[in-house]
């Protein structure tokens, strides 16, 4: 009985965003949109969902429905001809192994991120790039995302494979979502909408439970464009101001019946029961990793506060620090600390 109730809440979460696999588009759902909760909230929620026992006496753990949006690459490619449960299971094990080494944080299209990659041609052997995530895709170990920025008036986009071992660090500097799933229109927008300072600091959010949706409407440059944006129902773009013939042609070419095509949506998504199984499988390990990282961050915060105490007593120009050496990569990037310290490597 309880399990059915739990399943129902899970499925409600799915039903609300039924027509979009990855995240909700506000215009399409008729149900009031519930904000997506972050991992902190999700952890507490998951704890509450663990009921003492069911008929057989076993504890049943159900992952929160938000996992579908936080970790979309754990869901396999829905094409039925190429699915195999054993292979997906093995791939998930490998993904979790990689995640135990590198923190791959929760992010969405529209978040500003910084990625550090090992690069033989760089002076420090590491290359760091900051950009806004304009698209993400792939499933399993092939998952990727594209970061875009404008550097010296030149637009630059880099596609990163999330599980590539060359990636040293992925930081989310600003966690937010936009009104669209794919921000490819930024290529035709004014450059200020894609420009982010390369030394941008991670922003700390006051309200950790909800991922904010940035309702920004972007101004596009005058035509010609790379794609026919008027045909794509973009929410995050200002009025395109095109002659009426463009909109007429867009209507002619549009497929409004697709949102009623249940079989099409069914073939594009993984069924709810399978999603539950997959995320229940993966849930406990992800929780453990998150917990370990929190502890590590707290330790590093303690270390740094210890160093501040030493620094105040000693000569401020002195560069020596007693106590534990904390490498700079262990400084938290997700905004847990209220101040940044310079640390020195030995």
């Amino acid at each position: 009985m309880l399990r059915r109730a739990v399943l129902q809440t899970f499925r409600q979460g799915l039903a609300q965003s039924f027509f979009k696999r990855n995240a909700v588009s506000l215009s399409e759902t008729t149900v009031t949109h519930q904000p997506i909760e972050t991992s902190n909230e999700a952890d507490e929620k998951s704890v509450s969902k663990q009921k003492p026992g069911d008929e057989s006496g076993n504890t049943v753990v159900v992952a929160p429905p938000e996992f579908r949006f936080m970790y979309p690459e754990f869901l396999p490619d829905p094409a039925m001809e190429r699915r195999n449960r054993l292979k997906e299971k093995l791939e998930r094990i490998d993904m979790l192994q990689r995640r135990s080494v590198v923190e791959i944080p929760e992010f969405y299209t529209g978040s500003v991120m910084a990625v550090t990659v090992a690069d033989a041609n760089s002076p420090n052997k590491f290359a760091r790039f900051v950009g806004i995530c304009i698209q993400r895709g792939g499933s399993g170990l092939r998952a990727w995302f594209i970061l875009r920025n404008v550097v010296d008036k030149q637009g630059v986009e880099i596609l990163y494979e999330m599980y590539c071992p060359l990636i040293q660090k992925i930081e989310v500097l600003r966690l937010e979502r936009r009104l669209d799933e794919s921000l490819l229109y930024l290529r035709d927008a004014l450059p200020e909408y894609s420009t982010f300072p390369l030394d941008m600091e991670p922003e700390r959010r006051l309200n950790n439970s909800v991922v904010p949706i940035n309702p920004l409407k972007v101004k596009l440059r005058p035509r010609p464009w790379l794609e026919r944006w008027e045909r794509q129902n973009l929410q995050g773009v200002e009025d395109l101001n095109l002659p009426q013939r463009f909109y007429d042609k867009a209507e002619k070419v549009a497929k409004p019946w697709e949102k009623y095509d249940l079989m099409l949506q069914y073939r594009k998504t993984i069924p709810a029961e399978e999603q539950e199984k997959i995320f229940a499988d993966v849930h406990s390990q992800l929780q453990q990793q998150e917990f370990k990282r929190k502890i590590r961050r707290q330790h590093s915060a303690l270390n740094d506060s210890h160093m501040v105490r030493v620094g105040r007593d000693a000569n401020p120009n002195q560069t020596r620090i007693s106590g534990s050496i904390v490498p700079s990569c262990m400084l938290s990037s997700a905004g847990d600390m209220t101040f940044r310290l310079e640390t020195y490597h030995y």
């Binding site: 001809e81 292979k87 093995l90 990689r98 080494v101 090992a118 399993g140 170990l141 494979e161 060359l166």
Partner: protein, 374 residues
């Protein structure tokens, strides 16, 4: 002989008989090619039927042809009990049970192969960060069904063809994927009566030298192979069905616009008017594409998972995902074994110690290890 035939005999070093295939000995100087040889014929396999929808005539009928029998639930339960009783006593052979004396491995030994299922493709990375596409092959529950000694095999039709000019070798029949005997005919199940195993869905033959023979009922697992070795994978390619000339043979077709009338993906001309005045055999035309036997040779094994019986092989194999393939040690001379592999096959250690679960090649980056820094 025609004019062209005469000219060919004049310009060729050796005299050509009417029925011979005359490709290799042609004088291909540009002057002659432009003047006389305006058509090359490909007759090697054009008359051989490459695929059939029916099995060979010596196969027994496999799948049960009976319609739904109206059988009561009690009787159904009884049938299941009978099946369980019949097959429950069989235990797989351990290394010490091999009654054939353990023969030494030598470089000319041919070991048995293994039947596996291609379960998909996974991306892995090498230690320098280079991405590598690996095919995941799941070794099914293989058991040796029977051994056909060389003298007997050489007398069979296939054996006679294979060993026409060489010393005959033995043949191991291996089966994979046990299934409920209800779905097969009695004749097919009788193939497994000697062994006492549940009938298998797939059977395959592997040519082995007599010193690599395995007794019936021996299990074959992923441990049969060694990480870093090269294997050949045989499979049936993806069935594309009836395909046009552009996809099947890579023709360029015609222009998409500029007034082209109904000529976008067609073949164009199929012959000249003068020479031989007919369509030559082997002319490339639309037809059935795919579903053919192919071997991918020399693929390197980069990872073996002993717990799930899975092999990761660098590269791709013939056939779609979830299709059955056969894997055996490579025939390529430079990539063969230099030191002894598990011979005749791998047996788990008898003292109960579990083998290492996940074995990686030294060139691959293991996922749990720290990120690569160049």
């Amino acid at each position: 002989m025609s004019t062209l035939g005469l000219l060919r005999t004049l310009f060729n070093p050796k005299i050509v008989t009417p029925n011979a295939i005359q490709l290799q000995s042609l004088n291909r100087s540009p002057f002659l090619v432009g003047l006389f040889f305006n058509h090359e014929q490909v007759r090697t396999m054009s008359r051989v039927k490459r695929r059939t929808t029916h099995p060979p005539y010596w196969h027994v009928l496999k799948n049960n042809q009976r319609q739904d029998e109206k059988i009561s639930s009690d009787n159904l339960r009884f049938v299941r009990e009978v099946i369980q009783d019949k097959y429950k006593n069989k235990s797989p052979i351990k290394g010490s049970d091999l009654d054939i004396e353990k023969k030494e491995w030598d470089p000319k030994t041919k070991r048995s192969g293994v039947i596996a299922r291609n379960i998909g493709v996974q991306h892995m990375w090498e230690k320098d960060g280079k991405k590598v596409v690996c095919t995941v092959l799941h070794v099914l529950d293989n058991h040796v069904i029977r051994y056909v000694p060389p003298e007997e095999y050489a007398k069979s039709i296939i054996g006679a063809k294979v060993f026409r000019n060489r010393k005959p070798l033995g043949c191991l029949v291996v089966g994979a994927e046990a299934a409920n005997p209800d779905r097969f005919t009695r004749q097919y199940c009788s193939l497994f009566n000697e062994v006492g195993l549940l009938p298998k869905k797939r059977l395959a033959r592997f040519i082995v030298t007599p010193n690599a023979v395995l007794p019936p009922c021996t299990p074959l697992t992923a441990g049969h192979f060694v990480v870093g070795q090269a294997v050949d994978v045989y499979g049936k390619t993806i069935d594309y069905g009836f395909q046009g000339v552009v996809k099947r043979w890579g023709f360029k077709g015609g222009p998409a616009s500029h007034g082209a009338t109904k000529f976008h993906r067609r073949g164009g001309t199929i012959g000249t008017g003068r020479d031989k005045a007919r369509v030559w055999p082997g002319q490339k035309m639309p037809g059935h594409m795919g579903s053919e036997r192919r071997f991918c040779r020399g693929l390197k094994i980069v990872r073996i998972n002993m717990k799930y019986n899975v092999i990761y092989v660098k590269g791709t194999v013939p056939g779609p995902t979830n299709s059955i393939v056969q894997i055996f040690d490579t025939v390529l001379p430079r990539r063969k074994f230099t030191e002894a592999p598990p011979h005749p096959t791998y047996f788990p250690p008898e003292d109960g110690t579990l083998p290492q679960e996940d074995i990686w090649d030294s060139s691959l980056h293991v996922f749990g290890s720290p990120s690569i820094s160049v």
